[in-house]
Symmetry: D3
Subunit: 336 residues, 6 copies
């Protein structure tokens, strides 16, 4: 299954060795984004992938494109126009000090100013079976919204699978009313086959009401069933983060039309606190593409999400071999 | 309240990535010292600060001064004479391996050879409301002792608040007799309003006797009351380091003339094992300057001390926003 | 003489060791800008300086502000609002390979979106004798233009000296018509006392005509005289870059109302090809502030410009001692 | 024209900042090789390229492959088997100190142990119009020789263009007799259309005799004509390195069946002394692919070779825009 | 007691900050190997040590030799011939992500191609009392096997003590049959006085049978007694790695002819997961050389092994002072 | 010939990439000194060397000692006492910007506080044939002077060769009167066999008068002859630095009792402006030890001095092979 994504590429700038911005003049530059992360991981799993996006038409855009190729992404539909890339600074947290992300202007980025006319969706869709559309495109600008809808409609009408994640960021939606955002989501969801999200996405963003007479798990299942029925969703997936005895655990869940599975929790040990969600999503998409049993999928995806937290940067670069190794030999800490 | 400090600036040289000196040719250079640390933190809290000290009259002194400005310190009373700066190497520990500090010559430093005549205390005091005098000046050289006493007397006579910390370092006092050091402390304390210390400072340095018929806490309270009464101290503050189940916790305490408060302990997770005490002191001084309730002060200062351990280097660079965030949302590990 | 500047602060990101963007993940971060560069250099010459600008109201803005303090700039009028800083990538050239600057979005920067109302010009002007206004503010946005004019008018009416440089960048003016830009310059120049520019600025930007019956030098003198008379300019200054036998030489010139002086050319040996103009300007302003003879000023400023080319980054950090040393001992290459 | 190459990928390890191996523990890792260099440059010129080679079947091989993608190479025919990559250490020279290359074992590398059966030449050739075969494959091992001949024969029989360079390295041929090597070259040349070499390659490797009654240039032309006629070579190209007044100049030459052109020499200023030949070759192949006049080709290729010397590492990463810029504006040293 | 070793020196290349190979171009270079590690540690304990091995006869070999001197090893018997050094890449693990070692060709290394005739064992043995022979030499090549046997026979016949470790690595023995390897071990052991190994070495490599009627500890003791009696072994030593409540503990054991001691377990906190075994071995050899009680030896060696895990790289660089400090003051985490 | 030295070891701290101290937090640490430099170079030439000095009795001293071993120095007579090492910061110059050395306190260093009683000169002298005594020991402290004289006397009385260099540094002699320094030199020279110096050392330090009726060269020869006769000096050596057409050239000279030779000048291209003198001296001592003709010695030593300028740091690490290579093939800039 050829898997592709539509989404923003961002430049991430990270001080070394847990330093804060004030403490250093050295920054590490990476290129990242939900689509980048998921596709890169899938490419490392052996899938054929391609990203459709726009990068600046200058040397920074060229460097970004080279970096995306290095990550394993097909670059045929990566255009270059505009002159700006959204960026963020990640001051890596340690212990009780949280990782602090500081965004620079994303609205004027090459991606932010690109509308449907700036992409060749037709040839792009010919070469893909499943396309991931990042929910951030619904928050960003009128152009990104228009492009996302145009792509979703076209893909859906051609029978391509669409995967969508809510990915709501309050900081990107300070000027968007809740009702406006709900309309965007409601417009997108009918096109979608696979959705990544949380219970809060259903209640807070879509305004669905949980049945409070049920216990938590049943509430969630009932709410999800309604949601999946409403929009004819094939797969709904996400993760829980569980705190126990001062440790954190990750546990993925997965709904198809008839089943609900939740993975055995795995302890999270953080090298980088950003990017586990994309690792989980990549695992789910791999299982979907290869028609694995839900149980296998959710276990693999959770292990992959936990591994993503042990890798510097947002981009999960795990291979199948690595994921399978920690599933089979969880206590081996040295391979030679 | 304008807060200032008198004390030594040191150069700290640290190998990267937990390497030991033998293992590297690369060192990170920082400028530090008790006064530097406390003032820098207060400047990050929004206070107006200035340091009075002497740095070498050469390019290293200029670089140090630039670094202090960067940290937020007012540099108007930072003089340059002499040609040496005290320095230390910090080999960062990991797990059971302790952080190892190796000092280079401090006695011949610009600060070490500067006496009272080498400072313009008068104009300095005009521009400050509270001055912190680091106890290390009493251990270092005859000149630093003379300067500290001259400043303390002058400040006290002008009604400025004086904050003092014992900061006794055996390695700096190999040639000073215990009785000699006690005389120095006894000469300094009558000028002081706020003192940072521990029970051991009162018993071992001042030779006070604890009432062993009391339980530990009451012993400490009674001892402290005597001490504060003897020297008319307004505030006595310090920290406990508590070990429990293989973890360490920090808990600050605070006495005013009538009350004793101790903070809820917070777990210590160490990125850098040096500098938490100064973070705690900065928190206490902020509460004092802004007339907070003791409970609020001690909780804020303890949280700040714990954050200081998550920051590379001795200098706590926390902002109010950061401290308040971990107080309100202790389990959030990523902010974006 | 207290000297200040109004202008944009930019983040410069530079790959190490002459690498191109594609070749590295490591970038060096500096904060720069014409005003920053000139004031930093003047601060290193011992002048009291301050910058008026706006930086992002986030952790990057704070880090930038700390960096400016480190450079020696007074930060009292550095505000923080907006959430973006203009940035550029400098791929350092070598031999025939030119240094390549790639700009990221400057129009949406905190400075770009700040108008006159976003600054406290009144208190700022009270504390300055001469203010430098960078010509880039006339190219950037409506707000920066409005702020520049408001400041110039206010300063002029209070008898403060105004220094202006044309600093025309084609890449920033792709959407500005020539006639529009001429109007801006013509509106600014009547407020100005000192102007940095070139013959081309007078002819191409202001549309002045050179008298082609004269030889080159006389043409330039005559054109400059007309220009200075027109706008009642006290000092007009700039540099020539001379190529001879495969080497380049820098030679500054200086006009006051009655005299023209040009410096002995000095060979340019480039470590960093950006920033010599600001070094020259700083030298001229020092001479002006201290009422040096034109000959001394132009020689010092030229030497300083040449030194600026031997320093990494845009910011000239030379001291008087360094400039005077290479003037007196041009062949000494090691001082110890 | 789709251009491809067959050749070894090597790992280059370089100490930073002109340090020698003894002086550092830090190395920069790059992946390089004649084929890599030429194709990467052509990809930066906008050509579609692909490399056929074998890399280790382990994590290093994967990292190498990712790096090649980043350089712009198509990776479809890059196999992974064996467990070793040839490597070399480059201690960068400075002034009179030569750059010192130290090779590690190349014979046991994945490339060295791969014979014709280890490649899918058929599908590879379907997707290419011109294939570059590096002469080093004739020196390395029996397998690499066999693979090179198999590929050349197959490509030639299908009417694909073949480009070959002598690339003779004494250090790789310590165990190969001169006569043995001559046989290899003589077996390869009949398949070739474009050859890169020098007069010494013709005389010393092929044993051809120059007509010493002619002057130097005529000798060279006559020798080349014979060589090209013998093997029906379409294009013969190479460079001269000229020393004049203590400076070095590069000047490319180009023969087709009827013409000889030599480029205007350009001064060499070395950042990295390795890789200019491959830059020259990439320029020639671009001109060939786009059917440029010889004069244009040789000028572009020479400029590109000179630029290659200003880039860290062996891989020339120049774009058309950069090469054209230094041809049009040789004295511009800063672009913004 | 003069202690020496015979074994391979390898180059270890490690990405910084837990990055994976794909994520970096920077590598840290170290020289390591079982013999190197043990001798370096013993040198840091104050012993006179020397290594007998062969390094490449080129600049890399010289750099390696310089590095070994820096570690404290006597270099008199370190020869230089051949042109290759075995190497490995260590991608440092974090949390559940294992450290991943990728070997490059070791068989063609200078050590791998050196047989008995390539060493001056006679003069070497004159200057040593105890020689450590690494078991890897039995796996590597015919030459290394021959050299190891020649050395062992000669040393034994001269009454020198021989220390041997099994150090079996499946990845190095893919082409060696189990029965072949058993013969090698059986040929070596009669020469040996001290052996490092595990129960599995005795059963799987030597084919000994455990008496399954006994409990685990008795099984191990009985097996070991038989082994030691069979080969007249003076000391048999090794470590257990114990998992408890999610933490790992190291506990060394030691058998002499009559006693069995096991150390109090110590928690392992890993900075680098490679090298603790060599730290343990160095501790045991120190105790042996200085005739300590077994209990003291095993406690010291275990503490040293745990410290080795807190040091970057394979080479344990602990001093006696450091080991004794964590034995006496296990909770002190900062020394100044 | 076994060659040794008595002298101070200093720590050199250097910012990377020509940055000034203010511009960086990263420093490179090296250990250096005249004796270190000369012996290290001789060790690279294959000589057996040892240094007698004292280093701090702490972890920095241990790291320094390890570094000296790495450079090839015998460490048997390197003691550890005291707690300070003299240090200097080297801000690397570029073009007209001079390299700027800033010294930190040298008088209180372990070397500075060590007198004759702190060294075991007897066993040291047994193992050496020629000892180099650095003139800096005569400037530093009473203890270093006393130690130097004790060593010189003892060595001379045992018929060991003594090599001395004036190495006068004004910055180290601010408190020493000229007449005092002359007495020291006059006391040392009678013990000496080889002296490194300049004409100015003879006139300014020793107060000798040049015969101004002679031309420059004859003046120098006559002066030197007197000097050598006075003190029975076997060899007097030094270098000229010649400026021509904007370039600098190095040319060594050498006097024995009957001859004067001067080397063909070689152009200086500076990577590091410190350390060429020590490279020259090492070359001279090698020629002396191996009884080369003066012409060969002076040519080799001059080439070595020029190479020393192309190496980062003070320590010349050239091998014979490298020096001979640039003598034979001065235009080869790449060896592979």
């Amino acid at each position: 299954m050829r898997i592709s994504a539509f989404g923003e590429v961002m430049m991430r700038l990270t001080p070394p060795e847990y330093l804060m911005l004030e403490q250093t003049r050295e920054l590490r530059m990476d290129f990242t984004g939900t689509g980048v992360n998921i596709l890169s991981n899938l490419a490392h799993f052996g899938c054929e992938t391609s990203l459709i996006t726009n990068l600046p038409d200058n040397r920074l855009g060229e460097a970004a494109k080279a970096s995306l190729r290095q990550l394993g992404l097909g670059d045929r539909w990566i255009g270059q126009h505009g002159n700006h890339i959204g960026s963020y600074f990640a001051e890596m947290g340690y212990g009780p000090r949280p990782t602090q992300v500081t965004y620079q202007n994303r609205h004027s980025s090459s991606f932010g100013v690109s509308g449907a006319a700036d992409y060749d969706f037709d040839s792009f869709l010919e070469a893909t079976d499943l396309v991931h559309i990042c929910g951030i495109s619904l928050s960003l600008t009128d152009q990104t919204r228009a492009a996302a809808f145009a792509l979703a409609e076209k893909a859906h009408s051609q029978g391509k699978k669409i995967c969508f994640d809510f990915n709501f960021r309050p900081s990107l939606n300070e000027n968007n009313e809740a009702v406006f955002m709900r309309e965007q989501y409601e417009r997108m969801l009918p096109y979608c086959d696979i959705v990544f999200g949380t219970q809060r996405d259903l209640t807070d963003l879509l305004g669905m009401k949980a049945d409070e007479t049920l216990d938590n798990e049943e509430q969630f299942k009932s709410l999800t069933k309604t949601f999946m029925d409403n929009y004819d969703i094939e797969l709904f997936a996400g993760t829980f983060r569980i705190r126990e005895n001062g440790s954190y655990y990750l546990s993925g869940f997965l709904f198809d039309k008839n089943h609900y599975v939740q993975a055995e929790p795995r302890e999270i040990i953080n090298l980088d606190r950003i990017g586990a969600g994309d690792g989980y999503a990549a695992g789910v998409l791999l299982g979907y593409a290869e028609k694995w049993a839900l149980e296998k999928t959710v276990a693999f995806a959770t292990a992959n999400g936990v591994l993503a937290h042990t890798i510097q940067g947002d981009v999960p670069l795990t291979t199948r071999k690595q994921v399978e190794h920690i599933m089979l030999h969880p206590t081996v800490d040295l391979i030679r």
